[in-house]
């Protein structure tokens, strides 16, 4: 799995502090090399193990990101000339659902025309127009899929489905859903969509499931209930 690095002020700031600490400790010749090695190694690995509390405290005391510091007064810029200015450094947040994506804008919407010009000049080398959008689109293709799915084949014929139904009706225990899915090389959902087992088998399966659930302890039962409740809350927009 490919891991993407999140570029955020805090991340770069930690990185910056890390380099600073390693270079400063390297530049002091009096420090024993035995003390040096674990410091650098720890820093690079990202663990916070230090021998003493004061060293831990010192290591964690990192300088703030430059954007949080007051920049040197610039005489040409009236905003910073007096030294008083506003730091605007918002945390990363999810995009608002009120911003309609370009694809969702109807044909008649004037915003669509405005965005079309941006996408027209996206590949142009001379006109720098909304380059970020074009770059984002190029990156989108390379991002890993959350659920890689095989392309749909549609290889089963009507006869195959009839055969599947016959097998399932004949012996639902041997020809289980997963067995049929393997045999016909299709997803389990398709098998479930095609054929239903008889009522007796369904009852048996339900009883078996209840027996399995009965063997669970209180923790497992509660964890399962919580999971279901959490999913419902997510779908209700409460999480």
């Amino acid at each position: 799995m490919e891991v993407q690095l999140v570029r955020r002020p805090a991340a770069s700031c930690c990185h910056h502090a890390l380099l600073l600490s390693s270079t400063s400790s390297l530049s002091t010749p009096s420090t024993a090399s035995s003390q040096l090695r674990p410091l650098i190694a720890n820093g690079l690995r990202g663990t916070r193990q230090k021998s003493t509390a004061s060293r831990t405290k010192r290591a964690l005391n990192i300088a703030p990101h430059p954007s949080f510091l007051a920049s040197p007064a610039d005489a040409s810029n009236p905003a910073t000339a007096s030294g008083s200015h506003i730091i605007f450094n918002p945390p990363s947040s999810a995009p608002s659902v009120y911003h309609t994506p370009f694809k969702f804008l109807p044909k008649s919407d004037p915003r669509r025309r405005a965005n079309l010009t941006a996408s027209l000049f996206a590949s142009s080398t001379t006109i720098k127009f909304n380059r970020d959008g074009a770059a984002a689109a190029a990156i989108a293709e390379k991002l890993p899929l959350v659920r890689p799915e095989a392309p749909k084949t549609y290889h089963l014929t009507e006869a195959d489905v009839a055969e599947m139904r016959r097998l399932r009706a004949a012996d639902p225990l041997t020809n289980s859903v997963s067995a049929l899915a393997t045999r016909f090389n299709c997803p389990k959902l398709f098998v479930v969509m095609c054929c239903h087992s008889n009522a007796k088998h369904q009852e048996e399966m339900a009883a078996r499931k209840e027996a399995i659930k009965g063997r669970w302890g209180p923790r497992k039962t509660a964890a399962r209930e919580d999971r279901q409740r959490r999913k419902q809350m997510l779908l209700d927009g409460l999480l």
């Binding site: 993407q4 999140v6 995009p95 659902v97 309609t100 994506p101 694809k103 109807p106 890993p144």
Partner: protein, 428 residues
């Protein structure tokens, strides 16, 4: 609450006849209740305005000789008599607080405060005004929702209607207006208090709702029959609720933790009293809208609704519930000829830790439709699909979108058709 200068909106009307109907109504107040003439307004025939014009000055009207003036003991009346409205400080304060135009007499404002459960006589309770008011209010809210968010599913439209003009919300509006309710209705209470009967809900003509009463309502309530969306659109009220036949269903009564025998049941309030109070407050607010419409006309009523109802904030993105967001999104993409949606991992942290975070984006071709973070790949994927669907449903042509009633204004531009979506993605 927004303060609205209604006198400016209807300035041309007020200049003509300022405070026409407040003083003479004192004469009307002291007759026999059953035979008292209701206020009769001759409607004008001006094409571009619904303002009321009087055919004859009200001062000329007198009580018929056949009904001699009798002094009534106020305690015998179900609600305070209209002439007491002029002496109520609460009523005058409410009139001033809402910046109502002087054209609306205090007697009418007093009548909006009398619920049908307090006074059964429709000439003295607010039922008529509330009916007019709710049609006007619901019309303006509905047309605004339809033009502002044209792609909303019907269930969400109903929830939004409830969020703007439902009973629960109008209770808050009434409270924010500083309206207090009387402990019990009667002729002796201050006319500036909202009067409704908390205890007597089953008898009398206490209103349960306006709308079509289904033939099968009793069985439908008892067995909780399923009502489809199209069915609800046709038969039910503006909020998608069927008009109730009985105040509380039997199923609800069984679920109640406290019984009626419990003395605390009525003393401290319960679900029933809450519902009655909500309904009474809501009908009061609707009746005020109806009164503004009746006395000041269409434009002022619209301005009043805009200032007090539509100016409230409602987060539409929280009204949604999904069952299968990924399937719904795939159906949408297939319907609109987009590439099939694909979930891609944008970033992740702590995959093997106790609290991992995955950021997943849903792409259709090269376009990102939605994005969300979640504690597992599946949760993030579902959430991203939900966000993509919300982004579709919450498309808006603009903040200051024109609504059809805008063309009724003076010198209005001709109407250009609003954007209408082709319909729901999945059946619910």
């Amino acid at each position: 609450m927004k303060r609205l200068r209604l006198d400016r909106c209807a300035g041309q009307l007020l200049v003509a006849r300022p405070r026409t109907c407040s003083s003479p109504a004192t004469h009307v107040g002291s007759g026999l209740r059953s035979a008292r003439p209701s206020q009769q307004f001759a409607h004008s025939t001006r094409s571009q305005s619904t303002a009321v014009a009087f055919s004859e000055p009200l001062e000329a009207r007198q009580l018929p000789e056949s009904h001699p003036q009798t002094l009534w003991d106020p305690r015998e009346l179900p609600s305070p008599s209209p002439e007491r409205a002029l002496r109520s400080a609460k009523l005058a304060a409410l009139h001033a607080r809402l910046s109502l135009p002087e054209r609306i007499p205090l007697q009418t404002l007093a009548r909006t405060l009398v619920d049908a459960s307090a006074d059964e006589n429709p000439q003295f309770n607010n039922t008529n005004l509330a009916f007019v008011g709710q049609t006007i209010m619901n019309y303006h809210v509905a047309e605004w929702i339809m033009c502002r968010y044209p792609r909303l599913p019907m269930t969400v439209v109903w929830e939004a209607m409830k969020g703007y003009a439902g009973n629960e919300v109008l209770l808050q509006v009434a409270k924010s207006w500083g309206v207090e309710s009387a402990a019990a209705p009667g002729g002796e209470v201050d006319p500036g208090l909202l009067q409704f009967n908390l205890t007597d809900n089953t008898q009398g003509v206490a209103l349960l709702g306006f709308g079509y009463r289904r033939v099968e309502a009793k069985n439908s309530e008892k067995y909780q029959w399923r009502r489809g969306i199209a069915n609800r659109v046709v038969f039910d009220d503006d909020f998608g609720n069927s008009v109730k036949v009985t105040p509380g269903t039997e199923a609800e009564a069984e679920d109640r933790p406290i019984t009626e025998e419990d003395p605390s049941y009525l003393r401290y309030g319960n679900e029933d009293t809450r519902e009655i109070a909500e309904r009474a407050h809501a009908y009061f607010v609707r009746a005020v809208v109806g009164a503004v419409y009746a006395h000041c006309g269409r434009d002022t009523a619209k301005a009043f609704v805009k200032a007090h109802i539509l100016s409230r904030t409602l987060d539409f993105s929280r009204l949604f519930r999904f069952k299968n967001p990924t399937v719904e999104l795939a159906t949408l993409c297939a319907r609109e000829d987009f590439e099939a949606p694909v979930a891609r991992l944008l970033s992740e942290t702590g995959r093997l830790s106790r609290t991992p975070v995955f950021v997943v984006g849903i792409y259709s071709g090269k376009d990102k439709l939605g994005e969300a973070a979640g504690p597992s790949l599946d949760a993030a994927r579902w959430k991203a699909a939900m966000n993509a669907l919300k982004a579709w449903y919450l498309y808006s042509p603009g903040e200051n979108v024109r609504v059809p009633s805008n063309v009724l204004e003076n010198n209005a531009k001709p109407w250009s058709p609003a954007y209408i979506d082709m319909g729901e993605i999945i059946s619910r």
